[in-house]
Each structure stands twice: as structure tokens, then as C-alpha cells.
Amino acid sequence: MTLEKKHQLNPEKWVGLYADYLFNYTIRRVDNHEVSKDLIQETFYAALKSVPNFKGLASERTWLIAILKRKIIDHYRKVNSVKGKAEIRVNFHQDGSQEGDWIQERVPAKWTSASDYNLEQMELTDTLRKCIDNLPEKYAMVFKMKTMQEMETADICKELDISSSNLWVIIHRARTQLRACMEENWFNK
């Protein structure tokens, strides 16, 4: 060990020093306890493997976060590539002369029971929360980062390595799905 090395690594202390910090960072993005835990474990593994490459220029924490960020992108790509199984229902004609028009069965219906619009009602927000949790993960992740965590569009794009038009398509589909879910489960039940 040379004196020039500003920062050193102490893998034995990682969990004690950084597990909570890394976990908070992750849960805000993936909103799932188990997934967050796994990502952090993977981060520690990856970090251990690249200990020899650590140059000591950044602090241990910064270095671990950089690795974790990569893991979060990998996770997002993974859920994004799961096709078919948990896709969102299509609401608009995708091609032909009616391209961009509402599909007849998916047209919004008027929401009845006006008294149920009361925001104070616990059940209303609970239903919404359930609808959000029912979104396919790739939509849920982006939607929650934007809506619940109120992150900047540019930051989300950077963190998930997606374009802003991509982000808005996801938000649009997520919200259309949520609207339909609220209609089925709350308003016109």
C-alpha cells in the first residue's frame, strides 16, 4: 500500500457502512424489498471481483454506487425484455386507417358515483395503489420514479439509460392502463 492511495477498500465493513445507504437508493428506484436486497448483494460481489481495479481515486461509497447504478440498469433491461407475459393492454389502433384512434372496447366510460371522488377516502387511494402495483414492472419502475419519487425526467433517462421519448411512451401507457384499472375496480364496479 502506497501513501498516494487516497482511498482504500475494507470489504468486511461494507455492509455495516453502506448497506442502508445503498438499500435506500435502490428501493426508491425498484420499489421492491427482495429485488433491492439482491441488487445490493450483487453489487458487493461485483465490487469484490474488481477490487484489484480500484484506483483509490473515488471514495468507497462513490465507487459502490457506480457499480450499483450499473446493476439497476441491468435489472431494468431484464424486466424490459420480458415480453408478452405482463404486457399492457393496447388502447389504440396500432396501424391501418384507424391508426391512433381509440379501440372501441377500450374507450373511457363516464365514471359514475360522483360521491366516490372524495380524495380523503382511504379505499380510493388504496385501489389506486393496487392498480399501480399491478402494472408490469417495466412500466411500474418508470412510472413510480417519475410520479411517486418525483424525479427529473433527465435523471430517470440517465439512470435507466433510456431516451425521453421512450420514457413518455411508458408513462402514457402506464397512465392509460391505470385509468382503465380504476374504472374497473373503483368507479364502475
Binding site: 448497506a19 428501493i27 391512433g100 413518455w168
Partner: protein, 83 residues
Amino acid sequence: MKFKLTCDEATAICSKNQYGEASVTDKFRMLFHVLFCAVCKLYSKQNTFMTKCMSSVDKKGVVKSKLNSEEKEEMALKIKEMV
């Protein structure tokens, strides 16, 4: 750029606008579309209502989960094994 929007495009702008990030031109195009499209007008109203709901969902707070000590011990153990 064509001025007329499809319903898909108009509702997409509506969603973007929920976060205050739609451009002035797009907002204008959307309002014009909604003038003649009752379905998208209804969608827009419901979408705005959902935004209001969302803020109260958020205030009530998503359960802040934390790692418990067992989970941390397990992690530390796994690291030890690898070192």
C-alpha cells in the same frame, strides 16, 4: 409537423402535461383536439383527477422498508466467504 393529432397522440400529451412538461405547441394542439373529441376530453378529465389522487397516495407514504439485521448479517457473511 402536422397539426392534427390522433387520439393516441393527444392523450400522450395529456399525460406529459400532468407533469407540466408538455410544450406550449403540444398543449395547444391537444386542446384543439379535445375541442372536437369527447372521448379524449373525458380521458383528460379523468387523467387530471388521477394526478390529484396520486399526490395523496404519495403523502400517505409508501411503506419505507429497511434491511433488518438478519439480512445484513447474511450479506456480511456472504462477503466474508468470498474474501
